[in-house]
């Protein structure tokens, strides 16, 4: 899976699951998902579960502390890195 594929999958899921309007021009791959009110702490737990099941990786608590995963681009980069470790 390429970085673009991961980014597209994440974007589609977040837009559908967190009910983001298609014409929301503030929603980009670089927007801070938590600061900008797209996802809260409960949503973060759900998104983590989605990432694990969809991309077949484990997101440890240490990962959450060490890697910035606030934007779609940051999450996609993290997923690609974890997949590369396998």
């Amino acid at each position: 899976m390429t970085l673009d594929d991961i980014r597209s999958t994440l974007t589609a899921h977040i837009m559908q699951h967190f009910q983001i309007e298609p014409d929301d021009d503030e929603f980009t791959a670089d927007v801070h998902l938590f600061d900008y009110g797209y996802i809260d702490s409960f949503g973060a737990a759900e998104l983590t579960a989605f990432v694990e099941s969809t991309f077949g990786i484990e997101v440890t608590k240490k990962d959450l502390m060490l890697h910035k995963m606030n934007t779609i681009n940051e999450i996609a980069t993290f997923v690609a890195m974890k997949q590369g470790e396998r």
Partner: protein, 399 residues
């Protein structure tokens, strides 16, 4: 009174503090918890299943220590002052009949404490809330269970909740209750009242946080422009069991809040401005304190996820004032960012999207207790700026 020693490895002072806090909720017969080098000594009544007690404390210990990585702990600002007073202020206040403890965590306050509280509240409004043009609101002391449910309070802080109920609308129940009270010679230990049968399911709880009513008031609204800023003061209640023995940990207290609701940039920028104003206030008044990142004491099995997320995203800061005679600090104010949690829960829109929210909250009684623990009751020892503002305020308010 019996004692049970629970052997535990507790290296981190913050973990020890949170573990002792939570352990008071393991059993209602716990009287005291003493930290030892290699564990906790728990003082309790005889009616305690000690095996279960030990197991439950170990379970809590795992909750607070099962981290693969340490929680983010950072001090963002310090205002260090060599303060003039180190006396046991609670004892002095009680001896001078300025405060009277009615029950653990429940006090009546007299002069000059009461004037100090009102001065502080007015100062927060003038120095912070008014600078934002905040709209004043006024809230009930109770909150509907359905509203509290939307805030996730029932799942995040169930141990704090104080339920409000009333006798069922049934004449026989009301008369039986009255008769039982008469027969017992009043409401006392011997009163035989079956509240399960005679009291209604609680519809209301005593409000645990001022800002919840603000979000409830904005339910189903779309905010104008970038958002709104509100300020309110109200009584709040949090049941904290044996922890009410701690300095300043009141069951019934007064919370002043400045609340930001709106678009993300509006809330984030104003939240940061409010923190700067808070720093100015503590600096002007020469308060010995620091600002650090924090997490709420989530009383749930997903403590680790919620607490680490809150700290990592810098969603909560606490201003902690030193209590010199106890060599400790207490939180007197907190700054919080909730992302879209309340905007979603109460369907508050800012533009097309759910509003985000944040707030700056002050525990008024705690703030004044901490102030006089650093400066005492002799006004001549108080910081010059605080003293002059206080005396001006008293004059202009006829106090």
């Amino acid at each position: 009174m019996a004692k049970t020693f629970v052997e535990l490895q507790i290296d981190d002072a913050e973990v020890r503090k949170q573990l002792i806090y939570a352990a008071f909720f393991v059993d209602e017969n716990i009287e005291d918890i003493i930290a030892e080098d290699n564990g906790l000594t728990i003082v309790h009544g005889a009616a305690v299943d000690t095996a279960n007690l030990t197991e439950q404390v170990h379970k809590l210990h795992r909750r607070f220590t099962n981290h693969e990585y340490a929680f983010k702990q950072e001090i963002y600002y310090e205002n260090r002052v060599d303060v003039p007073y180190r006396g046991p202020i609670i004892q002095e206040l009680a001896e001078r009949k300025i405060i009277k403890q009615l029950d653990p965590g429940v006090y009546t306050f007299r002069e000059p404490f009461t004037t100090l509280i009102q001065f502080l509240d007015d100062s927060i409004v003038r120095k912070i809330a008014s600078k934002f043009g905040a709209k004043h609101e006024y809230y009930p002391a109770v909150i509907n269970g359905a509203t509290l449910n939307k805030t996730n309070h029932f799942t995040s802080f169930p141990e704090h909740i104080q339920f409000v109920t009333h006798l069922r609308e049934d004449l026989s129940v009301i008369e039986a209750f009255s008769q039982a009270i008469k027969e017992a010679g009043g409401w006392n230990e011997g009163t035989k009242v079956d509240l399960n049968a005679s009291a209604a399911k609680p519809q209301y709880m005593i409000n645990p946080a001022t800002c919840y009513h603000c979000y409830e008031g904005l339910q189903d609204e779309t905010l104008e422009a970038e958002g709104t800023i509100v300020t309110a003061v109200s009584k709040c209640h949090r049941y904290e069991g044996g922890n009410h023995r701690d300095f300043g940990r009141l069951l019934d207290f007064t919370m002043r809040e400045v609340i930001f609701v709106g678009k993300p940039d509006f809330v984030k920028e104003n939240r940061l401005k409010s923190i700067e104003m808070l720093k100015d206030l503590v600096s002007e008044w020469e308060l010995d304190c620091h600002l650090e990142n924090a997490n709420d004491p989530f009383f749930t099995s997903d403590y680790e996820v919620k607490a680490s997320f809150q700290r990592q995203q810098e969603m909560k800061f606490e201003m902690r004032m030193t209590i010199p005679y106890l060599d400790t600090t207490i939180s007197v104010s907190s700054s919080n960012f909730h992302s879209n949690t309340f905007g979603n829960a109460f369907n508050i829109k800012a533009g097309k999207r759910p509003a985000v929210t944040g707030c700056l909250a002050f525990g008024l009684e705690r703030f004044i207790l901490a102030f006089i623990s650093q400066y005492g009751l002799d006004e001549s020892k108080w910081p010059a700026k605080f003293r002059s503002e206080y005396n001006e305020w008293k004059q202009s308010n006829g106090r």
